[in-house]
Symmetry: C2
DNA sequence: CAGGATCCAGTGGGATACTG
DNA sequence: CAGTATCCCACTGGATCCTG
């Protein structure tokens, strides 16, 4: 058994650590955008489609489903006609959104400091 | 010119905003692991290969090159034999590593709270 | 409005082999 | 040691069409 107290031992640098799964869940640009997009409260599908520029319905649904399956998001289907479904973060999701928001903010704040790297020249 | 003061208008939620490129640069699990792995100072290739469990030489090189091109990492080739090359974060990279480290820490701290979504069964 | 189902081109990324 | 070069295929994700 485990001494409970301190512990953790969770090491995302270890290939076999289950925390890797958590990391892979959020290591894609749509999750990085969708999660923080929900931080202010429930948002409807269509609203997300508009907020998250460039995302397709397919990827939005897929991303939300994945997050829902992992308990980061809750889906509320009001069962009305026309349909109204909205998504909200769970507490767990909210804790994650803080970390991801910081990443988004970093991108916004520093993108202009990146080397024009990617083939600025050619073409 | 612009008042520079407050906002920067950079909006990662806009498909066309250049900050998207920054986001996509770091929205993958290897970058999420490699960048924080460099936060304590220069690290050699082989060392990274061992530290970042599961990464292949190919992906390590690819990730490092991408980061280098964008000015997040500096590569130092000592030109010796046998070869000795090490990588270090630039200041910009260091600022990013803080945000990414928080994400890694989140994964380590909360992975056991994720629903056993592994339900890949369906199919 | 929310979203499933398909099709399919593009790419991510592992395995393996070779080099200075 | 630190890469580069191939082969190769599973998956990513956009486009398009369909439904309750």
């Amino acid at each position: 058994m485990k001494p409970a107290a301190t512990q953790s031992a969770a090491d995302v640098y270890s290939e076999t650590c289950p925390s890797r799964r958590a990391l892979e869940l959020i290591a894609n640009k749509w999750a990085l955008l969708v999660v923080p997009a929900l931080r202010r409260g429930p948002v409807r599908n269509n609203e997300l489609l508009r907020q998250v520029g460039g995302i397709s319905q397919k990827m939005l649904t897929q991303t939300l489903r994945e997050l829902e399956l992992n308990g980061l998001v809750v889906r509320s289907d009001h069962g009305t006609v026309p349909p109204r479904v909205d998504y909200a973060l769970t507490e767990l999701g909210a804790s994650l959104s803080k970390a991801l928001l910081a990443v988004d903010r970093w991108a916004e704040a520093h993108h202009d400091q990146l080397r024009p790297a990617s083939r600025r020249t050619g073409r």
